[in-house]
Amino acid sequence: MTTVAVLAALLAGAYAVAVLEAWARTGRMRPGGPLFAAAALIGRESFVPRKPDRLFFEAAPVLLLVAAVLAAAVLPWAPGLVIVDLATGALFVNAAFAYVLVALIMAGWGPDGAYAMVGGWRFLGQLIGYSMLIVMPITAVAMRAESLVTTVIVDSQAGVWNIVYQPLGFVLFFIAAMALAFLPPFDLPTAPGELAGGVEAEYAGRRLAVLRLARALLVVAVALATTVFYLGGWRGPWLPPWAWTGLKTLAVAAAMFALGGRLPRVREAHFLAWCWKLGIPLALLNIFVVGLLVLAVP
């Protein structure tokens, strides 16, 4: 029952995210847009390029979908409203997110097209940048909660949300989460103006539909993770807990889209340099500061 409820919430979230993304791209809010888009994609042809790595080409969208769903499965919407309250939930989220990379590499390599291949390998470079900035801030969150269980992490923010407790970690995580979901300005693997769609370039019709669905779910998962780790999860007055989680998640997603439409796409060299020369030292500093805070303020 919980599982069904959470899955429904995820799908609703993905729908809302699709509306938001269309808004960011076209400037118009069309509540029915994603429905039309899905119906249109299902009715269109979906061609497999000649002599591709067929297995990769077919598996990539599905793997992306699975990764997004699994990541979201360990994140709570409300007390008890979580599919699997894993003892190592915070780590498991990372593990599931890691397969986004695998899916994109497959999607890039599969069709034997130049734009797609460059896009796929670009994302590997991107991962080398953002990966540390996902795990290190989560470590700091776990330090405060003394646990990797996601529900415990939410409980640990009963007094002060982590966004206040460790703002540096939040900023780093937020940026890295955008990069993880290859949202603009970190959309290097798909880069519409640079690679003509990149890893998505050869996907059409039903496969593109699954890819887009998976991407929307990934954005939901990323935003949900931000909510759970930094925004106090379901905590909030008046409204029921699940509503707070949903609202915060959508707010995070909307913030990501709004930011993305107003920033120029980063250069990969810059992104890597910033992540390693600035991001990692800052993340370590964050851990250190949180370490002192945790000991000083019990």
């Binding site: 790595d53 297995l55 990769f56 894993l86 003892a87 190592t88 780590l91 498991f92 990372n94 593990a95 890691a98 397969y99 990379l101 695998v102 590499i105 497959m106 390599w109 034997d112 390998w121 590997l124 991962l127 080398i128 990966s131 646990s147 990797l148 269980v149 340099a273």
Partner: protein, 172 residues
């Protein structure tokens, strides 16, 4: 508990199957990703064995590491797409024999050794992580710090051999 044995065996089979696939495909990216899925299956096996932290860690670490392996294979292998279906092995018969003997010996040990009583109940997953943390800061502290030094050595070694310094240009 039969389910546990079943899943261990199932993922074990998957791991071995993917492991074999590593050397049976001529596409380098497939080869690297086969190794990745072999490692993922091992991670799943760990989960089936109720060593949750290690399992999830394995699943996470290997995804990124093996993907990086894929790019290095694409960089340095002659025909990364496997289009030419070229042969890349030598001393095949010897290798098969060695593999069979080595694996067989390990197998024999595994099957023939009287392992004694087996513990049915694993510690709770959350408790495992805590205990591992305590171990890390307690008895195994030196091991842990040594690992740090080893990682440092590896970083220095890898950088020193692989990165060519460019003269006249400061590292930006």
């Amino acid at each position: 508990m039969h389910a546990q044995t079943f899943f261990i065996a199932f993922f074990g089979l998957a791991a071995v199957w993917f492991g074999v696939a590593v050397f049976r495909t001529s596409s380098m990216v497939r080869s690297a990703l086969a190794l990745l899925f072999s490692q993922t299956a091992i991670g799943a096996m760990f989960l089936a064995m109720q060593t949750e932290f290690l399992g999830v860690l394995q699943i996470m670490m290997m995804a990124t590491e093996m993907s990086i392996m894929a790019i290095f294979m694409v960089m340095y292998m002659m025909d990364p797409g496997g289009l030419g279906a070229m042969e890349m092995t030598h001393q095949k018969r010897f290798s098969i024999a060695a593999g069979a003997i080595g694996g067989g010996a390990a197998l024999a040990v595994a099957v023939l050794t009287p392992w004694g009583p087996v513990v049915a109940q694993a510690p709770a997953a959350a408790q495992q992580t805590r205990a591992l943390g305590l171990e890390l800061l307690g008895r195994s502290m030196l091991v842990f710090e040594t690992a740090g030094v080893t990682i440092l050595t590896a970083m220095i070694a890898a950088t020193a051999v692989a990165v060519r310094r460019r003269e006249g240009k400061a590292a930006r």
